[in-house]
């Protein structure tokens, strides 16, 4: 079955430190991979996506993610965390054209000042 795993329910980092939010996937074929962020009482906001090409993808607000096919991972990273980055982050995969996204359970990122 197609699935997305976010192994950490919560990630805590200090402001200014680098952050990583982990995501692994299990799908057949070549996936399209996405990261979304959700602030309280808000919808999901698109951060970045990997379709094809360069394995390192840069997105909004200084976030980036690296696609690793051999490890079936797509970890979200940022070199220097901000308190305002504190939110709920979702990894998602789309397995083929015209189908819906499959989401992970989400990881709460907490950045302390």
């Amino acid at each position: 079955a197609q699935s997305v795993a976010q192994p950490e329910d919560q990630v805590n980092v200090a402001e200014g430190n680098p952050l990583t939010v982990k995501c692994t996937y299990s799908v057949s074929g070549n996936p399209y991979l996405f990261w979304y962020v959700q602030y309280p009482n808000r919808g999901l906001q698109f951060l970045l996506k990997y379709i094809t090409g360069d394995n390192l993808v840069k997105g909004s607000y200084g976030f980036e993610a690296e696609f690793n096919k051999s490890q079936t991972s797509f970890h979200l990273k940022k070199p220097s965390a901000l308190v305002s980055d504190s939110a709920l982050y979702f990894c998602a995969v789309r397995v083929k054209a015209g189908t819906a996204l499959i989401f992970g359970k989400g990881t709460t990122l907490s950045v302390s000042s």
């Binding site: 996405f34 009482n41 808000r42 919808g43 999901l44 054209a97 015209g98 819906a100 359970k105």
Partner: protein, 115 residues
């Protein structure tokens, strides 16, 4: 419009009532998706439209759930005889093309509470 608009933002229904949730996608967006997000969980797929055609409804949890998009723009998700387990945030998303290579734009959701 500039974004995906969903209404109402909050809905409280008594168990057994019917509810209708509305989604206004971005103008011209071909694809429209409905998701259900339970508390503390990731969104789960309900159904997908390409224009007015409902191409996938495999995620609808029961025959009490029904969705339509009759003119290929606004969509309505209807839940009949609501149950407590239907309490969740219902998210709508739209995408410009039929292939979904672009990011999906999500609305702010409708929070349904069944009492």
């Amino acid at each position: 419009g500039a974004g995906v608009s969903q209404s109402p933002r909050y809905k409280v229904a008594k168990r057994g009532q019917d509810v209708a949730l509305r989604c206004d996608p971005i103008s011209g967006h071909v694809s429209l998706f409905w998701y259900q997000q339970a508390l503390g969980q990731g969104p789960e797929f309900l159904t997908y439209f390409q224009n007015e055609a409902q191409l996938d409804k495999s995620g609808l949890p029961s025959d009490r759930f029904f969705a339509e998009r009759p003119e290929g723009s606004v969509s309505t998700l209807k839940i009949q005889r609501t149950q407590q387990e239907d309490s969740a945030v219902y998210l709508c998303a739209s995408s410009p093309g039929g292939q979904g290579q672009s990011g999906y734009t999500f609305g702010s959701g409708t929070r349904l509470t069944v009492v």
